[in-house]
Amino acid sequence: MLRISADKLDALFGAVSAKQKLYIPADRADGEAAFTEYAPGMKLTSRLNTVRSAKDFFFPQTENLVEFKLEGKKIEINDIREECDDFVIFGVRACDARSFTILDKVYLSDPVDTFYKNRRDHGTVVTLACDRPAETCFCQTFGIDPTAPEGDCSVWRAEEYYYFKAITAKGQVFIDSAASLLEEGNAAELDSAVAKTKAVLEKLPLANVSTKNFGGDKLNEYFNSDKWGELSESCLGCGTCTFVCPTCQCYDIRDFDTGNGIKRYRCWDSCMYSDFTKMAHGNPRLTQLERFRQRFMHKLVYFPANNNGEFGCVGCGRCLSKCPISMNIVKVMKALEDK
């Protein structure tokens, strides 16, 4: 297996970023990590994961869709789409890598969202296997192996080396772009590192969270559960969980009048927001209970119902650590199961 010593990672980043834009999770001044465009000297973060998920690269928080010019009764439509440049995201964790599969199911299904596809086509996802999972991690619940992340190319760290394995052609291009820096290495060292991580995985406090009681067939059972009132009681109705979530994909389309034309843009929206489903003549989700229920039903029931049992959650644990009131999908799952 190809590898590079940790102290040469800089050189690899340099080589890759010379050809295309490279983003790596780096430390921010406030101690959190964020995917940042690589610049020489930038170090890979020691934090397990970023606050914002990697979905931003394919589904940014806001993007312009189309522009209009209005004059008198005339409307002129201006398609502003442009082919996006190739880029690499390095250091995506297994959970986020899986989230792309989930987003693909939404955005690449017919009719294809060309805005998403454009970026997906041009982005190379280089994943990094986890070696120090946190207490909030529960990706295994969704069948994700954090020691064997998906993506275009997978990377493992073992001792002082990073090991590389291409999964797709794009991944191979990535490896090739730094081929001169890589050397053939001993996979045994890697195996023992992976084994060590697997041992930790078993001990994770959320290792026992299971999806066995969830899925598309539980629709009416859980929809009508009497637990929602209690669970949603303290929900602030903010969008934190939604916006840090790697799989939340809801959006709003809005027009902005610049004074010189109309820019139609889409931006993340949250089903937790009170105006999400508001219409001129009513709102089918009137209280936070319904909105709260929607978010979790979507991930645990509706999504699997529409996608062959696949859940709309990857167990990254972001909502567990970021919810202002610490209400989250794990608590919801446990409460719903507890009949």
Partner: protein, 275 residues
């Protein structure tokens, strides 16, 4: 790059018909003439005035109309108010068609059809009614039961009187909620009128109207011996994308914009009660 469904087309309003005090029917053509896109009866389109808003409307003209599309729109919010203020020649943007359609070429084919509509609920059904009128040979008897608050609130009144009623094999039963001068037709709510008319249960039913009307009509139909699998309706919820991605118009796992708006009542019954 391929076309993206979120990028709309331009359409020109070439005719505006005032149907009722709060409903107008807009004829929309492509700037170069002809239809902006093809559709099937029951499908919807996203209409927009950039800077004002975008909303989903059912296409009220029949696909058999090869020259233009029509939208019957009731004034109820910011965008519709704007649309109502339009003059002929105004451009709008539209994208679509969205959603499924009434199964005119499958389940409905060869059947006797009963259309039940209330108020602006006639809009989506009008597309089907005119479609089956134009392809008369493919369908059995047609009955339309349509009611509104008053005579003035009956949408497409002229077309109903001049065309539909004149057709062979088409029966139209009109009703209004309260008696009114100049009205010698039936007076009473639609669900009651349906019961009174006691249509034969071999008909396939297409219902559209205010939720309360649908609820009572359905109950009435059941009393008359109809089953849920015989009855279709069309839904409306907050929509943004039109293609089941933006995440707001779902009822359970079904997206109204993509899996709907046409649902058979037995399908609807399987979904949670959140609409």
């Amino acid at each position: 790059m391929n076309n993206d469904t979120l990028i709309p087309y331009v359409g020109v309003v070439t005719d505006i018909r005032i149907d009722t005090p709060d409903v107008k029917t807009f004829r929309v053509e492509a700037p170069e003439g002809g239809k902006v896109f093809e559709h099937m009866p029951g499908q919807c389109a996203m209409l927009s005035i950039p800077g004002v808003g975008e909303a989903m409307f059912s296409i009220t003209s029949s696909p058999t109309n090869k020259d233009f599309m029509e939208f019957s729109i009731k004034k109820c919010g910011c965008l519709t108010e704007w649309l109502h203020a339009m003059e002929v020649g105004q451009m709008i943007t539209l994208r679509g068609p969205y959603g499924n359609a009434f199964p005119v070429e499958t389940e409905l084919k060869g059947k006797d059809l009963l259309f039940i509509a209330g108020g602006i609920g006639l809009a989506p059904l009008r597309s089907v009614i005119n479609y089956v009128r134009d392809k008369r040979e493919n369908y059995g008897k047609i009955q339309v039961i349509y009611g509104s608050r008053s005579k003035d609130d009956l949408v497409d009144y002229k077309e109903i009187i001049d065309d539909w009623m004149a057709d062979d094999g088409v029966e139209v039963d009109l009703t209004i909620d309260n008696a009114q001068e100049g009205w010698d037709g039936h007076v009473g709510f639609v669900p009651n009128y349906v019961k009174e008319l006691n249509p034969s249960t071999n008909k396939t039913v297409l219902v559209c109207g205010p939720p309360i009307m649908i609820k009572f009509t359905l109950a009435g139909l059941k009393d008359l011996g109809f089953t849920e699998t015989q009855v279709y309706t069309t839904m409306e919820l907050r929509m943004k994308c039109g293609v089941g991605k933006c995440g707001r118009c779902n009822i359970g796992n079904k997206y109204v914009c993509k899996d709907g708006p046409v649902f058979r009542f037995d399908q609807l019954g399987e979904l949670p009660d959140e609409y």
